[in-house]
């Protein structure tokens, strides 16, 4: 009739917030932006998305088996699915199948399991995969498909998309007609040819960029949907506002300052906010619990660091986008931030010494 508990201490009840629920809420939040990306970039993107996620789950199962853990229950926590999903979101939409597999392999094996699995990793797995692929396969990772919504006249049909995914884009001729540069990449190239703003962006439409109608990574093009998903996560209490706000604010303030100083050489904050991986990183990557600081003040510092590095790399670095590098560098700084930024404990001074007793006389005076 009465079961005796294994645990004698409280709390005996809890909230309905579980690890699985958190993972599924994040997945729900990135679904609109992903769905839009899959629609805009068509069947090759769908292929890549499925391959990346399936391989992430397979790699996870393989590692768990190797470690002698029960694979099924650990996979059901949804973390491998989420990691694979985030990797897929950051890939060029028409990348070949092996990019997806390699990305998932790096993320799950090197990014997560070698550290001991869920919760133990130092770096964000998806960003580690993104950066490793970018450095190793610069061509594949910077070939950006034009927007070609599913079933539109210039979209690849199902069999063409099959060959794009499994034989590579080279089979589609002419390649220049169906690919191009991202906004940030285009600007970087133009600057190198001594062209100046605002002429460089004469054909640029902030509005289309905002809606995701632009070249870019599979799930990163729509600042609107990513931002809405992120705000929903904050509302649900899954993430806190500190990292996204400080990250986006830092980028806005820095780019705004330099744009005001020299509007020919520095992009406006709006272009920065709408481009590249910024929104995705601010809401879904930098906010990764495991690899970001755990106090609000630490999170503000972390967000500022990410924003600063993103702006510096975008503006003066060799790469047009620096979000991945920025996040990894700040991940490495996280243990240090957590070491130095701690709340004062009740009944103690900041240095950890207990408070001095307060006599009745002192109390009367104060």
């Amino acid at each position: 009739m009465i079961a005796t508990k294994k645990l004698s201490s409280g709390a005996h009840t809890g909230t309905n917030v579980t690890v699985q629920r958190i993972m599924w809420q994040v997945i729900l939040a990135i679904t609109p932006a992903t769905a839009l990306g899959l629609f805009y970039f068509g069947w090759p993107a769908v292929n890549l998305f499925i391959i990346t996620i399936l391989s992430a789950i397979l790699f996870e199962a393989f590692c768990l088996r190797l470690a002698g853990k029960v694979a099924i229950s650990a996979i059901l926590d949804g973390s491998a699915l989420l990691t694979g999903w985030l990797v897929a979101m950051t890939l060029p939409p028409w990348a070949p199948w092996w990019i997806g597999v390699a990305g998932s392999g790096v993320a799950i094996i090197l990014g997560k399991q070698v550290y001991g699995g869920l919760g133990q990793n130092l770096f964000n797995p998806a960003m580690l995969a993104r950066v490793a692929l970018l450095i190793s396969f610069p061509i594949e990772m910077t070939t950006w498909a034009n927007v070609a919504p599913i079933n539109s006249s210039h979209a690849p049909n199902f069999s063409e998309s099959w060959s794009i995914t499994f034989s590579g884009l080279d089979t589609m001729a002419p390649i220049d007609a169906i690919t191009g540069a991202t906004t940030l990449g285009f600007v970087k190239t133009e600057f190198s040819q001594k062209h100046l703003l605002p002429d460089i962006l004469a054909d640029y439409s902030l509005f289309f960029d905002f809606l995701g109608w632009t070249r870019g990574s599979l799930g990163e093009t729509s600042a609107l949907l990513l931002g809405l998903g992120g705000l929903w996560l904050i509302r649900q209490g899954v993430i806190k506002w500190h990292i996204p706000v400080s990250l986006l604010l830092t980028v806005t303030v820095l780019s705004g300052f330099f744009h005001l100083m020299d509007s020919h050489h520095y992009l406006t904050p709006l272009v920065h906010l709408n481009s590249g991986a910024l929104m995705c990183v601010a809401f879904f990557i930098a906010t990764d619990y495991v690899t970001s600081p755990n106090t609000p003040a630490g999170q503000l510092v972390f967000g500022m660091g990410c924003g600063l590095l993103i702006f510096v790399i975008r503006t003066w670095g060799a790469y047009p986008e620096g979000a991945g590098f920025a996040v990894l560098l700040m991940n490495a700084a996280t243990p240090l931030i957590d070491h130095y930024i701690k709340p004062r404990i009740y009944g103690r001074y900041r240095n950890g010494k207990p408070l001095e007793p307060k006599t009745v006389e002192q109390e009367r005076k104060s």
Binding site: A3, S9, N294, E356
Partner: protein, 447 residues
């Protein structure tokens, strides 16, 4: 002063807002639970040496008679909760989890069960030391759950001075409504108990802190407060763990008790309302603590409510009387946050048992523990700003010394907020308790 104070609502930072589940019992007046056929009185019910039994097997005892005498400064006597015959003194399960010596009394069915009266006392005429001794003679310990001997709390340490008595009426544990009922039904005794406490610690004023989900208590107590303003009542935010001494002191006065120190370090003495109300009831008649109000509540009970339960009543009898008709359940002594799970139905109610809570298994945390994902929810919940996440990781690595020295494990008062919010179901408080015990043992072995 913190920002919180600026907005006028008296409270402390962090903590949690669990669902209260108090409506099942809070409106029901306290009723008397019948006497169980057999009563099991553990000798050790609080910190300090267990009292020494002065009854023999087969001896007849009257309800209210002393059956064990105090042994040392922290020890308090025990009184017979029923009229009956001592069956034996033997090892029985207790709420602490381990088996301990208990005096087992077979209740005499024909008895009228009228408690014997001690000598009547004139409180105004008694000196401070006489009052403290009288409190000790009642066998009183903190009824809020910690069971710290009350007379010892009323003895202000040498060199310290107390100016204010804080009366803790914040029943922040979900489900529990005993203090709520006591404050409604026992106001006069409570005021008398507060006066006794003020006299014992030589304080000039007292403050009653009540959570703002009990406006009926504020209305009931206010007319009885003395006109000189020496006793006041304040509403504080309804939040867990508002009833923790450290939190309530901060909410009411903005003061912090120094780590490892006592409320007396900042001129305060803190008592639970039920403790003082019971002292106010017992002390003038020289009686001992033989029963207490217990909230009997939870799932699948026909008659939940607040009951005046004789100390030593076994859980089996309580469940039977309250009409438990469920299939699978877990039994918790105390609230769901800080209470402990009962291992046996023979476990008796003791002086520190404020609730008997039956939780359907769907309502309890399941036993699957997932890895920590460093979500930081425990850091947002911990009312004293510890890092339960890091402490939990250290416990898993058995680095108990680091937990104590660098992460101030001993400041943790085990409120359970961290375990409550953990999405990975990590039993953090359980880990911390184990770590504390092992650290203590290590010190004993080394010292």
């Amino acid at each position: 002063m913190s920002l919180l104070k600026l907005f006028g609502r008296k409270t402390f930072p962090k903590g949690i807002h669990p669902v209260e589940y108090k409506e099942q019992t809070s409106a029901r007046p306290t009723r008397r639970l019948p006497f169980a056929p057999q009563i099991i009185v553990p000798l050790s019910q609080n910190i300090g040496k267990p009292p020494i039994a002065i009854v023999r097997k087969g001896q007849h005892v009257e309800r209210g008679e002393v059956i064990a005498v105090a042994d040392g400064a922290l020890s308090v006597p025990l009184h017979a909760p029923v009229t009956g015959t001592v069956k034996d003194i033997e090892l029985m399960p207790t709420p602490s989890g381990s088996k301990k010596d208990c005096i087992i009394i077979d209740t005499q069915p024909s008895s009228s069960q009228i408690p014997i009266q001690g000598e009547a006392r004139d409180i105004e005429a008694m000196s401070r030391d006489e009052l403290i001794q009288a409190v000790k003679d009642t066998g009183m310990v903190g009824l809020g759950g910690a069971s710290f001997p009350t007379h010892f709390k009323m003895t202000v340490p040498a060199g310290k001075q107390v100016h204010t008595v804080i009366v803790n009426g914040c029943e922040c544990e979900p489900f529990m409504t005993t203090d709520h009922r006591v404050m409604l039904e026992n106001v006069k005794n409570l005021i008398l108990g507060i006066r006794i406490a003020m006299k014992c610690v030589d304080a000039s004023r007292a403050m009653i802190g009540v959570e703002d989900n009990k406006p009926d208590v504020l209305a009931a107590i206010k007319p009885h407060l003395p006109e000189d303003g020496s006793i006041t009542i304040e509403a504080v935010e309804t939040k867990y763990p508002q009833g923790a001494e450290k939190m309530l002191v901060y909410s009411l006065l903005g003061l912090e008790i120094p780590a490892g120190g006592l409320p007396a370090d900042i001129g305060l003495a803190v008592f639970n309302v039920a403790t003082l109300a019971e002292i106010g009831r017992l002390l003038p008649h020289g009686q001992g603590l033989i029963e207490r109000v217990v909230t009997i509540t939870g799932d699948d009970l026909e008659k939940p409510g607040n009951y005046l339960v004789p100390i030593g009543t076994p859980l089996r009898y309580i469940l039977h009387y309250a009409g438990f008709n469920g299939q699978q359940a877990e039994l918790i002594l105390g609230g769901p946050m800080m209470g402990s799970a009962a291992a046996s139905l023979d476990t008796p109610v003791t002086k520190g048992t404020g609730a008997v809570l039956v939780l359907d298994q769907r309502a309890t945390k399941n036993d699957d523990i997932l890895p920590c994902i460093k979500c930081g929810k425990c850091l947002q919940a911990c009312p004293i700003n510890l890092n339960p996440c890091e402490l939990g990781q250290l416990a898993a690595k058995r680095r108990y010394d680091v937990m104590e020295e660098q992460y101030h494990l001993n400041d943790c008062f085990e409120c359970g907020c961290c375990s409550y919010v953990c999405p990975s179901n990590i039993p953090l408080v359980q880990y911390f308790r184990i770590a504390k015990v092992l650290n203590r043992e290590r010190r004993l072995n080394n010292g």
